[in-house]
């Protein structure tokens, strides 16, 4: 099962700044009443984007026309904290995001995102604030995530970014979804099972 090698993500970005943006905010629980992930894209950040009473749009970056085509999300610290729901990265991916930049990521969210082939890279806060300011000034600024070299290019500027080696390796070698490799070692799996006191 050969997967695409994800070495770079190129597009425009949208700043959704703030810390501890949790998975309930990314996809409210009521939208998890579904048996497939199809169609989750339209519900990304739903409750912070639309008024409860009449469904009218709120003041939120994702509602701004100039950011409509953005494929890279820029945020703050501890992005994706809370529940393990894969619905959260699935909704962002189906909305059209292909990469996320933040100060740090909650681990389950990070793992879920990488398994979708959506790179999540971390940068220091001052760099993220600067990138957000650049995007606000000019939403057409091109952003390029360079996964192998751990760099982010925003217009003319170059930033050092971080991504754990396992995720970097998986993305650039086209092994970001581990299922094929996990299936290969069936015999060893049975051996380990046989050695356990409780199986």
């Amino acid at each position: 099962m050969a997967l695409e090698k994800i070495t770079e993500v190129v597009g425009t970005g949208v700043p959704v700044m703030g810390d501890d943006i949790d998975t309930d905010r990314i996809i409210p629980a009521r939208f998890m009443k579904c048996v497939t992930f199809d169609g989750l894209g339209e519900f990304a950040f739903f409750d912070v984007r639309f008024n409860e009473a009449d469904g009218s749009p709120k003041d939120h970056p994702l509602n701004e026309e100039r950011f409509a085509k953005a494929s890279i999300l820029v945020s703050g610290e501890n992005f994706g904290c809370g529940s393990s729901r894969e619905h959260a990265p699935q909704s962002l991916y189906r909305y059209g995001f292909r990469g996320i930049l933040a100060q740090s990521f909650a681990e389950i969210f990070f793992g879920n995102s990488i398994t979708l082939g959506m790179p999540c890279m971390t940068l220091p806060r001052k760099d993220l604030d600067e990138i957000a300011a650049t995007l606000k000034a000019d939403a057409t600024t091109e952003i390029r995530l360079d996964v192998p070299n751990r760099k982010v290019f925003v217009g003319e500027k170059e930033y050092d970014a971080q991504i754990p080696e396992t995720a970097r390796e998986g993305l650039i070698e086209g092994r970001w979804d581990p299922i094929a490799e996990l299936l290969e070692s069936s015999e060893q799996v049975d051996q380990v099972a046989g050695s356990l006191h409780y199986v």
Binding site: T36, F37, P178, I179, V192
Partner: protein
Amino acid sequence: MQDKPKSLFEKVWEAHEVGKLSDGRSQLFIGTHLIHEVTSPQAFGMLRDLNLPVRYPQRTFATVDHIVPTDESHEPYSDGLADAMIKELRKNCKENDITFFDTDTGKQGIVHIIGPEQGITQPGMTIACGDSHTSTHGAFGAIAFGIGTSQVRDVLATQTLAMSKLKVRRINVDGELAPGVYAKDVVLHIIRTLGVNGGIGYAYEFGGEVFDNFTQEERMTVCNMSIEGGARCGYVNPDETTFEYLKGRNYAPTNWDEAVEKWRGLRSDPDCEYDDVVNIRGEDILPTVTWGITPGQAVFIDQSIPHPSELPEKDRATAEEALEHMALEPGKPIIGTPIDVAFLGSCTNGRLSDLQEAARYLKGRKVAKSVKAIVVPGSQVVAQIAEQQGLDKIFTEAGFEWRGAGCSMCLAMNPDKLVGNQLCASSSNRNFKGRQGSISGRTMLMSPLMVIAAAVTGEISDAREVFEIGRTAA
């Protein structure tokens, strides 16, 4: 030469490691896979697309908890989507020979409550479930991970996960807790001390005198919220308390003595090296209540709501957002904040002991007129035993609604939701914006006893004063 001393985490990890993957991660055997209706249907769909069978159906256990209504028991449920999801799980379990604790079995309940209750959760296991509070099972000395749906697919198809090994932080809570201070206060205090992202990259090993003296259920409450501190899992070294809890349960080992003998060796070696050690005094912990929109935004009951300017700079923006959402005034004592709803339940605090402790103090009292109060047992077994003990009567006579088992108003995927900007005193685990079903709804996390105190007074109160706990000596 003796082996290098190891932590329990390392021991369990090594016993379950199948090998290394090409990206450097480990392939880890998952001994017990728990599934529920919200995060598994998509995984079964992926499995069908790949034409793969469930690899170890006998190591997979299912229940319904997130969307199950707590006030109606007849199917079809009035919520068609919820009804469809339950039927989907029922079908998937049947087709794949998976044990399903369905609503008519008398054993249905919140997945993290029934695993231990049925004796499925045992020391030295690796456990995975598509729910972040899987960390609960660490209370038994299991290494238990919350996972995403693609990983649910991985476990269904291979009984393994691709995982990176974690560092281990030992958190010692020594000394003694004062009367009226509970496991929930301990974990809220740990989270506010170490931060909501302080645990990233770590497994939390909880120990010290407070944990030694804790009941098995209290240990579950703390491990349950490890994820709120950013840790991927939390655990306690198993001991006689653990073994005693498991003895005689449905899925407990039949070769009991042999199993216990094995379990005794499953603990961190006394001289093992941790990646980090944190020491906390039990005496320093008071009843704790959250005032904000993350579980780390908490104060002791005798403290005031902080001014953002008093907080470290990095916490100020979220604090301001929290104060605006919660409509709370900085500098004002947290005590006396009026509440609208009291919720007792969830995988954190919906166990039998939580209901017993709450009922003990609630007996003979009345819920304040302004408060809507519901109690949701964590499982049908909890409900049944509680009813045998007459706890349901105590709750209903006080003015609580006595409900069926499920996750209920913790995440509000069923009809139990806050309305408008109601403020809820909640025994659950998350106070995120919108978490309890209304985007403007407000949640304050606290121990079950503090929920009861808030319910009867109609405002955030010190349960020790309301119920005269630990005041007799004065």
